[in-house]
Amino acid sequence: MNPAASVIAFTSLSGLGFGLLFWLGLGFPAVTGWVAFVFFALAYLLSVGGLLASTFHLGHPERAFKAFTQWKTSWLSREAWTSVATLLVMAAFGAGLVFAGIALAPIGWLGAALSLLTVFTTSMIYSQLRTVPRWHQPLTPVLFLSLSLSGGALLAGMTSVAPWLLVVAGVIQCLHWWRGDQALASSGTTLATATGLGEIGTVRSFEPPHTGGNYLTREMIYVVGRKHARKLRVIALLLMVFLPAVLLLLPFSHALAALAVISHLTGVITSRWLFFAEAEHVVGLYYGKRT
């Protein structure tokens, strides 16, 4: 799949932002007044910034509000609802902390639950697609949630749990890559089933429908950069998990913490780039690109 910058930015940034909102909702760190304002501002910048980036990806952003209508069937529509609900509930909770110095705990818990639900709905947009076997596995939501929880803990300055959550996310990431590498083969979809000609013999793409590219080849049959995938996976793991975990285990300093956050974010973006660039859509079979 085409790793569009807007979608990578959206899922990485808003994942972190909602992760931070989750911890804030539970009262970690227990902050009030100006300090609370800074934490909430950061969380909103990330989550709202991510959501705005995702609307750049739309052909008609001016009609984006219509995306609220189909929550009964569409995960994208559900994501629109959960994200707005989270932002509103957490705004009420944050206002209590910042302006009145009181923690309305039940509202915070509700906001925390909604934050996770938002990340879950985002992951289901990808995980629901049977057409992309690498994404169509239960580990996809687990991966998104674990990254969001660990990144959020990192931003919330929870130096005791964050390193372990990062390690868990790293393990899940490796499992996701491992399962993902076998997903297309085990999906059972091949050029033989795609054409129904497998009964006659071995099918090979002889000639594509046209000499140039089209929307499908650009959007779904993206192959650039796959050859560096192994190296990028190592880089992603180092930046996303290893380096931040080590930095957090060192004696605390703000500079090291900031470095840990930057490293983690860069790692998540690398991992998300791979998530898209490595994903094989079955339509590629018709174009002879998946063998």
Binding site: R204, P208, E219
Partner: protein, 246 residues
């Protein structure tokens, strides 16, 4: 609404005969011709006369080579457009309700004024039947020529999809799969019409008729020529030996 209807009254769709299709791409052109000036936004092209021409098409013809265990390879032309699936994943993923499946005839359509151009439906379709238009930024797909098949301003014989009407080989049939006695149902039954990617669970309506078994060429070929032996008699033999000695 992007909830799929439980059952549609009719199931309109196409049968494509892979035995007959000659790969002329006439259906591709007539489809583009009709659909660029009728239902919805035009099918735009980008850089049409330049280095990297590209454009929106609702129907495209692939060609595949199939090598049987015995006998020569076969070349099979393979037109592909929306299969108007009964369990259309493209419809249920749509966040706006722009994509829908009609209860009355099962046609899958996009309401372009509701489409936000998120592209998710094209990701959900395993067949590559949806393309985002490069100029209008809305999703385009085969409408089964919904603006022809019911159009009383057209002569009776033109009230079928443009691709079917145009196919010079007669490789395309249009009809109602819900009626067991329709042309398409009978063809599917008699010729063993195939469903593409059944494992994707989309339950496509359109069916493809597999190529008929080919004549066994090897059995009807002229016997191979006797090999020209080393010990030829007469002049040729002498020449052969003389050239060898050189």
């Amino acid at each position: 609404m992007t909830e799929l209807p439980g059952e549609t009254t009719r199931k309109l769709g196409l049968v494509i005969d892979l035995d007959t299709c000659v790969g002329c791409h006439a259906c591709v052109i007539s489809c583009k011709g009709w659909n660029t000036e009728n239902y919805g936004a035009p099918l735009s092209d980008q850089d049409a006369y330049g280095e990297e021409p590209t454009g929106t098409f609702l129907n495209r013809v692939h060609s595949y080579e199939v090598q049987p265990d015995i006998g020569p390879a076969q070349l099979i032309h393979f037109p592909k457009s929306c299969l108007h699936c009964e369990d259309a994943p493209c419809v249920t993923v749509c966040p706006t309700g722009a994509s829908y499946k009609r209860v009355e005839d099962g046609i899958v359509l996009v309401n372009e004024t509701d489409c936000i151009g998120c592209g998710l439906c094209a990701w959900a379709c395993p067949y590559g039947a949806r393309e985002m238009d490069g100029a209008e930024k809305v999703m385009k797909k085969c409408t089964l020529c919904v603006d022809r098949i019911y159009n009383e301003n057209l002569p009776e014989e033109d009230r079928e999809p443009a691709c079917v009407r145009t196919c010079p080989a007669g490789a395309r049939y249009f009809g109602d799969f819900a009626d067991p006695e329709s042309n398409v149902s009978r063809l599917t039954r008699e010729r063993g019409g195939i469903e593409l990617m059944p494992e994707q669970g989309t339950r496509p309506v359109n069916r493809y008729l597999p190529p008929r078994a080919k004549d066994r060429m090897a059995e009807t070929q002229t016997p191979q020529l006797e090999s020209v032996g080393a010990d030829l008699p007469g002049f040729l033999g002498w020449l052969d030996r003389a050239l060898d000695r050189l």
